[in-house]
């Protein structure tokens, strides 16, 4: 009953203007063919179409409705729609193709009568009767419907910066592979992947909180993309784990933990499918915090709040059980979610006095990643997070008790003594940000931070802290100390991702 009430209160699914336009135009094209003008369905659809156009014209600009290779765009933004719309989309594609159209422009009009709309739809329908539908339609529109134009094709094919599609041969012989573009692509892909992982988690939690069935398809896709990114470039991948958002303590934390566990999992030699499971463990390990006010408030906790916090592990287990996923997958991922605060010595929570089972491998991996990310994240009640380096030291304090020492070693190996994002103070009076420690080195590659006249930092060149002076054989730059990037209000990923 409570779930039904919650579902009833849940906000209706958002439908984009583009999807509404596509749907409305399609329906109206059908309705005009079949029904009389005095039919209620007819009137409703005309009104709906007009309302959409008026909304799109609100700011005085027109609406460019284009089609390219079976996909529709509204003002150059791809219209993404639910699977139920595929048939509509396919039909509209056919309509455009048979009329030789790549798009329509709906120009702002102060008024738009029913007759004008119906007339346009009728003309659109009838265009195929002519031997040259495009020309016929153009003429009719110019003659009677000045608020609609046929969009002309643009021959200037532009490689869109940052878009990986730009470097692809679309099959017409254009190859535009430029190293810089490819490099920026990875940065773009990394950000996009992070963003989509965040979004997948957000939408899943929204559905859980609304008492709805929550599928994991998006999350699976996101984790798979992260794994692909990991295999492509570990440095870029780990850079993402430095992202912090003080206004969000759940989502970025969960994604960062996912990144860290995947990094460790790869070092452990897990297969891709095991990595996928481990990644999902990481992404869902704090699902129990989703509808838990104590955990979301970020305030310093009182006694009863602490109980609520500690219940989040079991609540995570419960929410995982609720997921719309195969039983075997849920079974794999719920254990680590429940275990990640237990500690190897079982001194943590939840207390499981009767349990004889040792902590699972995934649970141990998750514990390390979770603690590291928590220590290096600011909290309202602890505004000063540990620097990455200090956080490692703190973790090592717990090796053998709360944390598995061998897993911890793997983690340190992954992150290096100066984990990515560490701000390093060098003895050359320079400041650098650690980017990545190659596996054959103990000192990281780093990005110099160059102060500008406004008192902020810009990213400088990449340096190798292991570089030695050829004359003396000594290390050129020594690390004197490290601080947390938030001390300088820096978001490390802004410096690390474009460092190619």
């Amino acid at each position: 009953m409570a779930q039904a009430a919650a579902a009833a209160k849940a906000p209706a699914k958002k439908v984009s203007p583009g999807e509404r336009l596509l749907h409305s135009m399609f329906r109206l094209l059908q309705v005009v063919k079949i029904h009389q003008a005095n039919n209620k369905l007819f009137a409703d659809n005309v009104k709906s179409f007009r309302d959409i156009l008026m909304e799109l014209w609100r700011d005085g600009f027109g609406a460019n409705f284009s089609m390219y290779r079976g996909r529709f765009y509204l003002n150059d933004e791809r219209i993404v729609y639910s699977p139920t719309m595929w048939a509509t989309s396919a039909k509209m594609t056919e309509y455009f193709q048979t009329r030789g159209l790549s798009g329509l422009k709906f120009l702002p009009a102060s008024e738009l009568s029913d007759d004008a709309i119906v007339g346009f739809m009728d003309v659109f329908n009838r265009a195929t009767r002519d031997t040259n539908p495009t020309a016929w339609l153009r003429a009719k529109l110019q003659e009677s419907y000045p608020w609609v134009e046929i969009a002309e094709e643009d021959d200037k094919g532009v490689a869109v910066e940052g878009s990986s599609e730009a470097v692809e041969d679309s099959g017409l012989g254009r190859k535009a592979i430029v190293r810089g573009v490819a490099a920026k692509n990875l940065s773009y892909v990394a950000r996009q992947t992070y963003s989509q992982t965040l979004t997948s988690l957000r939408s899943l939690i929204e559905r859980l909180n609304a008492g709805k069935s929550a599928g994991i398809q998006k999350s699976k896709r996101a984790v798979q993309e992260l794994i692909d990114l990991l295999f492509e470039d570990e440095a870029v991948f780990l850079a993402l784990s430095t992202i912090r958002d003080r206004d969000d303590q759940l989502y970025t934390h969960s994604v960062n933990v996912t990144i860290l566990v995947l990094g460790m999992g790869r070092r452990l030699g897990l297969s891709r499918s095991s990595l996928e499971q481990l990644g999902l463990c990481g992404l869902f390990h704090d699902l129990g915090k989703a509808n838990n006010e104590a955990t979301m408030s970020g305030e310093k906790l009182s006694g009863s709040d602490k109980d609520k916090i500690q219940s989040h592990s079991l609540l995570s287990v419960f929410n995982i059980i609720r997921l719309n996923a195969s039983h075997s997958l849920k079974h794999f991922i719920l254990g680590p979610a429940g275990e990640h605060h237990m500690g190897m010595d079982r001194s943590g929570y939840p207390k499981m006095d009767n349990s004889e089972e040792p902590l699972s491998l995934y649970g141990r991996v998750l514990s390390v990643a979770d603690q590291y990310n928590a220590l290096t994240s600011a909290r309202p009640w602890r505004p000063q997070p540990f620097s990455p380096h200090d956080a490692l030291a703190k973790l090592l304090d717990n090796a053998g008790t709360k944390l598995d020492p061998v897993i911890l070693k793997v983690f340190v190996n992954l992150m290096g003594a100066w984990p990515p994002g560490s701000v390093l103070v060098l003895d050359t009076q320079e400041v650098a940000m650690s980017r990545y420690t190659p596996s054959d080195s103990v000192l990281p590659l780093a990005r110099l931070l160059v102060a500008n006249s406004e008192g902020t930092f810009l990213g400088g060149p990449l340096i190798d802290l292991a570089e030695t002076d050829p004359a003396t054989g000594n290390i050129k730059r020594n690390v004197l100390s490290s601080i947390h990037p938030s001390d300088l209000n820096l978001q490390p990923v802004e410096f690390l991702l474009d460092a190619h």
């Binding site: 869109v160 878009s163 979004t199 398809q217 993309e225 059980i321 609720r322 340190v412």
Partner: protein, 671 residues
């Protein structure tokens, strides 16, 4: 007229690629290749369609797969790869449409488009197995529901195709603007404070002075200020801790330090009291041999670990934690699913331990959680859960004896009403031993299930399984399961009727009252068996039942095989104790009519007379049958006399065949 963009564009949105320039007409070579690709795709389509229609070992399917693979091998051998761009209604090769199908779920390649695949590339080395895998995926993901766990792309990823590459756009079904990471706020400022630049941050750190400088450093000298800040007394300890963290000797040594680090050993004495094998001396934090062994053991343990063990304690803890009935119901459902999956893997011991832990939990919390026991048992006792057994494919061998013991305990845990579900599952289990165990569990519920269960099983289980069940009841008190056996005695197959009837009548012949249909058993061997059992001891109840049966047969003129009638009458004679049998038989034997006089009675009437005489011969002495037999033996009615003589001959033959240790009363001769 150019249209300006509307303001509803979200940042980083995917921009519409401009329409491609019109392609130049293909050269002659390319047209041939495009045609070749078209032809190859048609072969592939046929293979897909046949795979959807036929099972794996079907010759048509195999042949079309082989043909497709042959085509790919030939093409890829020559050209190394085949890259196809995906459109809503077809595929493009080098910009040319090589496959056109109606967009939608009937289009074989539509799932690629739907799930965002931009291109798919087949590479040299593609073999039949991988081609088959791809086809299975295309078929399996032809339709997609919004909450499906996988789509084609995630499934292809999971399939780890070696020679099929693809590129996807990250498309989700709702508009998801790319989150601007640059807009994230990094740290926490004091309440009401404005966001700071790094220089601003440094202003609040006092005292600061660059090397050789006094006062606050700004702008270009911010780095100097930073150094001073870090070296200042107010945070001097911090510097020390940064340079020499608490357990810094665990960290790789800093080489080349001008302030002197001493030798590496001194810098890294290593802490104590860590896990055994934890190597502190390694410069690069690589796992040493013993640590690698630990890790490999962990990994292989993880692979071997019963899924049931992982998370079980947590799930049970959740059962206590949840106070809401729907929440508990969900957890119980999950536990039941755990059982199902473990049944399918034959992890019977793990299931047994789950049940023990569950029971322990219920008892510890008693009586608060008592109701959960019944609820859980009810869930376990369904086909949906027990179905796991039907999917257990390994053969049970003698080495699995212990496993079967655990299975027996699990089956005993199920509620009494589980018999129907068990029966349904038993019918699907291939392994004989496993099936027998399940059938035994059914038998154990025969008492509770009674007649209704039996009638259900009559149509659910194979006859041999029913016979097995009856066999399982050998040690049971038959009176407790009599209704069940009575139900089985009505089965259409004689072997089942025999097993049930034998069990019933061996226990108590008086049960014939509840199974009068057995008296009319059509299968002759079984009929003799039944009557033999009935004739083992004298019983007024049995006598009455047989008399009633014979009377009905006679009065209603029901035709029965003469041999069968004789068997019935003989048994009457062997079991009767009262005058009722004498009277009935006497009337049957001495009934006078024209046919009797002339000795021309029909077969049925004759059989009844002979049978009646036979019964009288076998009766215990002193019931008055002697007089009747004497009258018949001397009667002028040929039919009567003949009947007596035939009966006497029959009795003599029976006596000769009778086993030496038969009861004396069964063998009394009558002159």
């Amino acid at each position: 007229m150019n249209v300006a963009r509307a303001t509803n564009m979200t940042p980083n949105a995917e921009k519409a690629p401009s329409a491609p320039p019109r392609a130049a007409p293909l050269a002659f070579d390319d047209q041939d290749v495009a045609a070749e690709v078209r032809a190859g795709l048609q072969i592939f389509l046929v293979a897909v369609k046949n795979c959807a229609l036929y099972p794996e070992n079907n010759k048509i399917r195999q042949a079309s797969l082989a043909k497709a693979q042959e085509w790919f091998a030939g093409f890829l051998d020559e050209r190394e790869n085949l890259k196809l761009f995906v459109d809503i209604d077809g595929l493009l090769y080098q910009g040319v449409n090589v496959l056109q199908e109606k967009a939608g779920e009937t289009n074989v390649f539509f799932p690629l488009f739907r799930d965002g695949v931009q291109w798919i590339e087949f590479q040299e080395g593609l073999d039949a197995a991988e081609l088959n895998k791809l086809i299975e995926l295309l078929i399996g993901f032809r339709m997609l529901k919004e909450d499906d766990e996988d789509d084609l792309v995630t499934a292809m990823w999971g399939a780890e195709l070696q020679f099929v590459k693809y590129k996807t756009a990250n498309e989700f079904w709702e508009i998801d603007p790319i989150t601007e990471i640059a807009s994230f706020k990094v740290g926490f400022a004091a309440p009401g404070a404005q966001p700071k630049t790094p220089a601003d941050s440094l202003k609040t750190m006092a005292p600061i002075a660059g090397p050789g400088e006094k006062g606050v450093s700004r702008g270009p000298n911010v780095i100097g200020a930073l150094f001073s800040y870090l070296g200042s007394d107010s945070r001097g300890n911090r510097e020390a801790s940064l340079m020499f963290p608490k357990d810094s000797q665990l960290l790789p040594p800093r080489t080349g330090l001008s302030d002197g680090g001493g030798d590496r050993e001194a810098a890294n004495p290593g802490p104590e009291n860590y896990g055994s094998g934890f190597d502190h001396g390694a410069a690069s934090w690589e796992l040493n041999d013993s640590e690698r062994t630990v890790m490999e053991d962990l990994l292989s343990d993880e692979a071997r670990l019963s899924q049931l063990n992982v998370g079980l304690d947590l799930t049970l803890a959740l059962l206590v934690e949840r106070q809401d009935p729907p929440g508990r119901a969900l957890v119980l459902k999950f536990l039941a699913e755990m059982v199902r999956f473990s049944l399918a893997k034959g992890e019977f011991q793990s299931i047994y331990f789950l049940l023990r832990k569950f029971e322990g939990l219920i008892r510890a919390a008693a009586p608060a959680l008592d109701h959960l026991r019944a609820e859980f048992q009810a869930r376990l006792s369904t086909v949906q859960v027990l179905d796991g057994l039907a999917h257990y494919e390994a053969k049970i061998t003698s080495a699995d004896a212990e496993k079967l013991v655990y299975l027996g305990k699990i089956l005993n845990y199920l509620e009494l009403g589980a018999s129907r579900a068990l029966a349904e599952i038993a019918a699907q289990i291939k392994d004989e031993t496993l099936r027998a165990q399940v059938l035994a569990a059914v038998a154990a519920r025969a008492r509770a299930g009674g007649l209704e269960l039996a009638l259900h099983l009559n149509v659910t289980l194979a006859p041999k399984d029913l016979v097995t069940i009856v066999g399982s009841l050998a040690e049971t008190d038959i009176s407790q399961v009599a209704p069940f056996l009575i139900g089985l005695s009505r089965h259409v197959r004689p072997e089942v009727r025999e097993a049930a009837a034998t069990a019933l009548l061996s226990h108590d012949t008086n049960l014939i009252v509840s199974t009068p249909h057995l008296l009319a058993e059509p299968e002759s061997r079984l009929q003799r068996q039944i009557y033999w059992l009935l004739g083992q001891k004298r019983s007024a109840v049995v006598e009455k039942a047989i008399v009633k049966f014979l009377r009905n047969t006679l009065e209603l003129g029901i035709a029965r095989p003469p041999d069968a009638l004789l068997v019935a009458y003989r048994t009457l004679g062997l079991c009767a104790v009262s005058a009722e049998a004498v009277n009935f038989c006497g009337n049957s034997l001495l009934k006078k009519n024209a046919r009797a006089f002339f000795g021309v009675a029909d077969e049925n009437e004759r059989a009844h007379r002979v049978g009646a005489a036979l019964a009288l011969i076998f009766l215990s002495p002193g019931l008055g049958q002697d007089d009747i037999l004497a009258r018949a033996s001397k009667s002028f009615f040929r039919g009567l006399k003949r009947a007596y003589e035939e009966a006497k001959a029959e009795a003599d033959a029976y006596y000769r065949m009778a086993r030496p240790n038969s009861e004396p009363h069964a063998l009394q001769r009558r002159a």
